[in-house]
């Protein structure tokens, strides 16, 4: 009974939360709590994996006598939820393992320990839920606990602001989802997913838009992403890893669940909406990331970008299945889901690295770091792996899912509808652009943080982080490599999901020779991560061998040459901002209205020259600032009603009375 086992795991997690409240003062508490979380996540992970591979899904649903009385809370595990359980608990286990070490350094464990397990439990419950109420409760519970975690370091006003914007956006998303389910369930209140499936939804288009807003606001689709780069960095790093690597995926799950499973047959214009938004999200996300010099915020913006990539895949899947092309739909969906998995891996890994750096130096600002590769070689290596993976470079996993997405795009000319014909290639270009920009961004991230010379003393005497964190990072790095060189296994693991959702699956990959992967047919295209990896490894070794056989081994250390005029001051290095400057000049002028002002003192003036850069967040200015000012304004205006005299209040009553009497006299 897999569902029961999973729920038991969740119960254990919630119990761990209570334990966290009870034991927060004790020294060993955090170690214990995180250990429990680690074990629980591994257990659920095991169950889900077994179910997914055994192909016995969907497992029979379970009904607990909680939640809405006359409905109860339904929980169920089908292929989709099993896959997302894998993602959630893989990320959860990794984060817990990392936290076993990292959590030791937490200043106020009392503000983290109770909520962290609750957060994990909430995400698991979302994925398991099988009726609207259970789903929404878990969804909002997840938001609530993560909000508490964002507020963990509440003395920083920035974090408080982040937490506020986060909780408001989250609640906004929940309310839209609530409306969506209200439409799906109908006035009869058939909230169970089984009933929703059986009954066709009224106004499916509206439902799709509502769901896109609701889940998009949690996943970070532009323009609903504003909270994400604020909230994710504010939380403790292992929580940031969960929020970026896992919670956004839970949002993706919500979208897939409703749109592909509950909503019934798709219409083609939906996909235009989704694909368009996703493309913009990609580019805007990565460009914003390039403008950052806060390491964790940069990573958060990259989450936005990757969500865009995922939604491109989902949109294509919608388009294909709307036109009854099931095999391509399966390909696109697989690409999206595989990217979900991959992004969970490398984004968590990167946040772990950022956490290790934060822990070692107390700095999140890259401009104050540098040269960490010398003192933190292991962290640097793991982080580099993550950077390579997220930049979609072979032979790591990021490339595979983007490659599959490209293949799906290459199949889309067959789509009949014109809107798609126009928008898909444009989005393809956006995808390619964002991939290239991502590479640039991570050269910046790794180069400025780990390479070069330390820019501050704290960076100079950083120390390698603890064992548990290292273990977590290397585990995920290894997984990145495995998923990159043996993608066939993972794709076949996804087969039941696509089979259930779009009624088709990609050709069985493990059957192919040399474990290469083939989207549709080998003549079209194929990729073999294993072989490429072997190739690279082989040729690298060969070269090294040859060089060391014939070349001189002599190595002399000397000062950097730097074209003849080396400058000892590390301030002369390229900083994050200066690295991004060319790209800012190319794209920023349009996207961010970025402008530079150089204040150059006249000759003979001793004061230093000053360069200031203004980067504006147009999304905020366009959508959020007006709303905020509107609310504030109307609050201000209405507030006068607080200070009326009794007579004026009485006249309100009087007017109400007379007008109602008039209504009555006219009505009857």
């Amino acid at each position: 009974m897999p569902v029961a086992m999973a729920l038991t795991g969740v119960a254990v997690l919630l119990g761990a939360g209570l334990l966290g409240i009870a034991l927060q003062r004790l020294p060993g508490a955090s170690r214990l709590v995180y250990l429990i979380c680690f074990v629980a996540c591994l257990a659920i992970l095991g169950v889900a994996c077994a179910e997914l591979l055994a192909g016995t899904l969907p497992a029979p649903a379970m009904r607990l006598p909680v939640g809405l009385p006359w409905i109860g809370a339904h929980y169920r595990m089908d292929a989709l939820s099993a896959f997302f359980l894998v993602v959630v608990n893989l990320g959860g286990a990794g984060a817990s393992l990392f936290a076993i070490g990292y959590g030791q350094h937490e200043k106020a464990p009392g503000r983290v320990l109770p909520f962290y397990p609750a957060f994990l439990g909430g995400m698991n419950l979302v994925v398991l839920a099988d009726d609207a109420f259970a789903f929404l409760v878990a969804w909002e519970f997840m938001s609530l606990s993560s909000w508490a975690l964002v507020m963990a370091h509440h003395t920083d006003p920035e974090n408080r602001r982040a937490g506020y914007i986060y909780i408001v956006m989250a609640s906004f998303g929940t309310l839209t989802l609530l409306l969506a389910f209200g439409l799906l369930a109908g006035s009869g209140g058939g909230y169970a997913f089984s009933e929703i499936r059986s009954a066709p939804a009224a106004l499916p288009g509206v439902v799709l838009i509502l769901v896109l807003i609701g889940t998009g606001s949690k996943a970070g689709l532009v323009p609903l992403h504003v909270w994400l780069p604020l909230a994710h960095p504010a939380a403790p790093s292992h929580v940031s890893a969960l929020m970026s690597g896992v919670m956004t995926k839970v949002a993706v799950y919500g979208f897939v669940r409703v749109v592909f499973d509950l909503l019934g047959p798709a219409t083609w214009w939906w996909s235009i909406l989704v694909i368009g938004l996703a493309g913009i999200t990609c580019v805007l996300g990565v460009l914003s990331a390039l403008m950052q010099h806060d390491l964790k915020r940069l990573l958060a913006y990259h989450t936005v970008e990757n969500i865009g990539i995922i939604f491109i895949g989902l949109g294509l899947a919608l388009a294909f299945s709307a036109h009854g092309m099931q095999a391509p739909a399966a390909l696109a969906l697989t690409a999206a889901l595989l990217h979900v998995f991959n992004h969970c891996l490398f984004k968590s890994l990167l946040f772990f690295g950022a956490g290790a750096v934060l822990n070692a130096t107390g700095e999140r600002d890259m401009e104050h770091l540098g040269g960490l590769i010398h003192n933190m070689p292991l962290t640097a290596f793991a982080f580099l792996t993550g950077c390579t993976a997220i930049s979609a470079l072979p032979p790591l996993n990021g490339f595979v899912s983007e490659w599959l997405t490209f293949q799906a795009i290459l199949l889309s000319p067959a789509l009949p509808s014109w809107g798609l014909k126009i928008i898909v290639p444009a989005v393809g270009a956006m995808l390619a652009l964002s991939a290239a920009l991502a590479a640039a961004c991570f050269v910046k991230a790794f180069g400025v943080t780990f390479l070069g010379r330390p820019r501050t003393p704290v960076a100079a005497d950083a120390h390698e982080t603890d064992r548990a964190s290292i273990a977590a990072m290397f585990a995920f790095a290894l997984l990145c490599l495995l998923a990159g060189i043996l993608p066939g296994l993972f794709i076949d693991g996804l087969a039941p999901v696509t089979q259930a959702l779009v009624g088709a699956r990609m050709p069985a990959q493990t059957a192919l020779p040399w474990l290469s992967i083939v989207p549709i047919a080998e003549s079209r295209s194929s990729y073999n991560g294993l072989l490429v990896f072997a190739f690279i490894a082989f040729s690298t070794l060969l070269t090294v061998e040859i060089i060391h056989r014939f070349a001189s081994r002599a190595v002399r250390r000397g000062p950097a040459w730097d074209c003849g005029f080396p400058d000892p001051s590390p301030a002369t290095q390229y900083t994050a901002d200066s690295f991004a400057q060319p790209i800012r000049r190319v794209f920023g002028a349009v996207v961010f209205r970025a402008s530079e002002r150089v204040d150059m003192p006249p000759p003979g003036d001793a004061r230093p020259a000053h360069l200031s850069v203004i980067v504006r967040d147009l999304v905020w200015e366009a959508f959020y600032a007006p709303i905020a000012s509107l609310v504030a304004g109307s609050a201000e205006r209405l507030n006068r009603l607080q200070f009326l005299t009794i007579r004026q209040y009485l006249s309100l009553v009087f007017v109400a009375l007379v007008s109602l009497l008039l209504v009555v006299s006219i009505w009857s």
Binding site: E140, H154, L175, V631, S668
Partner: protein, 486 residues
């Protein structure tokens, strides 16, 4: 020898009224804070037990009093919150006495008034006669007016005065409505008692003169709506909550508003029973929606923490009125649940706020910061309370809001969107203030405060439990009431 007068349930019914009445008389005479506070708690407990016994043994309706599913719900809720509040007030008032904000003389008066209020509310709820109900509610209003003014500061007196005047006008309108109902019923039920007795009125509802009923409902809506605190009749509510002693704020938000709402519901039933009369729903829906959105905006500019939560009460009363206005099994169930949850949560919040104000020595939001640092238990208690009142799971209010919104959206999408808008506005304001009050660097005194946490956390625990699991009997009972409400 009439045996029925010895029927245990009848005794229970009387007890619910007699105990507080007698206690009030005793408390007037009783000197000494310690004893009277204890007695206050004990009598409230006794009243609660009596009310609970009504659940098992229900007497036949008499000409003046009666019990049915609807009012028993309110009675139990009222007596329970009354009991916990008395427990809270015991410790709260103790502190007020220490800092000399209240003198023993006024405490005697205070406790007597407290029991009088209990009596009046129970009478209003159990009355089977619309005239009697009207008298009871007026009595309740007067007592609360006196208690709001008890601090005798300029603001307190002003608040009490405002409450008094607006309340009196409300009462007058309500009375006129009552008279009209009688006029409407007289042709059918004949002169005298019967034309004012619920049980008979409801039976003959179909036969009442519809046009008169319409006019009557207008007056009743405005009259009792003033007590419920619906915009634009709400003006007394925020000041009364802000300036009175906190236990009274808790009772006002938790109980008195409900009693007035109960009266509204009764007359709604009467209207609904008469097909020819205009449907009461739209009026309730629009006033509820207006109050909800209006209060949501008003929350932003509040400087006084108690006044802020008073506005939040207006918001939730609006939501409840909206739900009952929508009608239908789901919405009614949601409305009932929401009312219960709101009473519990809001009084819990006021418990917390009361102690917080005592600890920090101020009610100004700007001077309260970082509670979770300085007073963790109170701070987190407040956080949980606000999270609950803001309608986040797993607490009970989420369930009721879920039912109300989703059932509304399927029937009237536009209304639901307005509703969601209002909820979101209010949510934003509450969270904004919570952010400042509960988190950040603590300001003001961080000295530990002697507080009674039991009532606070008892309420919160109940709310949490309800959000996770509603026991079957309760559900069946609420569903019965919801069906009753049509």
């Amino acid at each position: 020898m009439n045996l029925s007068s010895f029927h245990p349930a009848l005794d229970a019914l009387d007890a619910v009224l007699v105990i507080p009445a007698v206690a009030a008389l005793v408390l007037v005479l009783l000197p000494g804070y310690w004893l009277s506070a204890r007695l206050n708690v004990l009598t409230s407990l006794a009243t609660l037990l009596a009310a609970l016994s009504l659940l098992v043994e229900r007497p036949a309706p008499g000409p003046y009093l009666f019990v049915d599913d609807l009012n028993i719900t309110f009675v139990v809720l009222a007596t329970f919150v009354g009991f916990t509040t008395s427990a809270f007030s015991a410790s709260y008032i103790g502190h007020e006495l220490e800092i000399g904000r209240l003198t023993p003389r006024y405490l005697r008066f205070y406790h007597a008034m407290y029991q009088t209020l209990m009596f009046a509310m129970n009478l209003g709820l159990l009355a089977n006669n619309i005239g009697l109900m009207w008298v009871a509610i007026e009595l309740a209003t007067l007592t609360t007016v006196l208690m709001v003014g008890i601090y005798r500061t300029h603001e307190a007196i002003e608040a009490a005065w405002k409450y008094f005047i607006l309340g009196s006008v409300g009462i007058a309108l309500a009375l006129f409505g009552t008279i009209l109902v009688y006029m409407a019923a007289r042709p059918v039920l004949g002169e005298g008692q019967d034309a004012m007795v619920w049980t008979t009125l409801i039976e003959k509802a179909g036969g009442l003169a519809p046009e008169l009923l319409n006019v009557a409902f207008v007056f009743l809506m405005l009259g009792y709506g003033t007590k419920v605190g619906l915009a634009p009749l709400h003006a007394w509510l925020p000041d009364a909550h802000a300036e009175g002693p906190t236990p009274i704020s808790a009772v006002l938000s938790g109980l008195l508003l409900n009693v007035a709402l109960y009266a509204l519901l009764r007359f709604k039933l009467l209207m609904a029973g008469n097909p020819a009369a205009v449907a009461p729903g739209p009026l309730m829906v629009s006033m509820g929606l207006l109050s909800l959105i209006f209060a949501g905006f008003m929350l932003y500019r509040r400087r006084d923490i108690k006044r802020m939560f008073a506005y939040s009460s207006i918001e939730h009363m609006g939501l409840i009125t909206f739900a009952f206005g929508m009608g239908g099994p789901l919405a009614n169930f949601g409305g009932l649940l929401h009312m219960t949850m709101h009473s519990l949560t809001k009084s819990a919040i006021f418990f917390a706020v009361g102690h917080i104000a005592q600890a920090k020595g101020t009610q100004r939001i700007a001077e309260i910061r970082g509670l979770t640092e300085s007073h963790p238990v109170l701070g987190w208690g407040l956080v949980v309370g606000v999270v609950a009142i803001a309608g986040l799971p797993p607490l009970g209010i989420f369930m009721s809001e879920f039912l109300i919104v989703s059932s509304t959206f399927a029937r009237a999408p536009l209304l639901a969107i307005l509703l969601v808008f209002g909820l979101l506005i209010a949510f934003g304001a509450l969270m904004l203030r919570l952010n400042e009050v509960a988190f950040g660097e603590p300001t003001g005194s961080t000295a530990p405060v002697k507080a009674s946490y039991v009532p606070l956390f008892a309420h919160l625990a109940l709310v949490l439990a309800a959000g996770i699991y509603l026991p079957g009997p309760l559900v069946a009972w609420f569903q019965a009431v919801a069906r009753l409400l049509g």
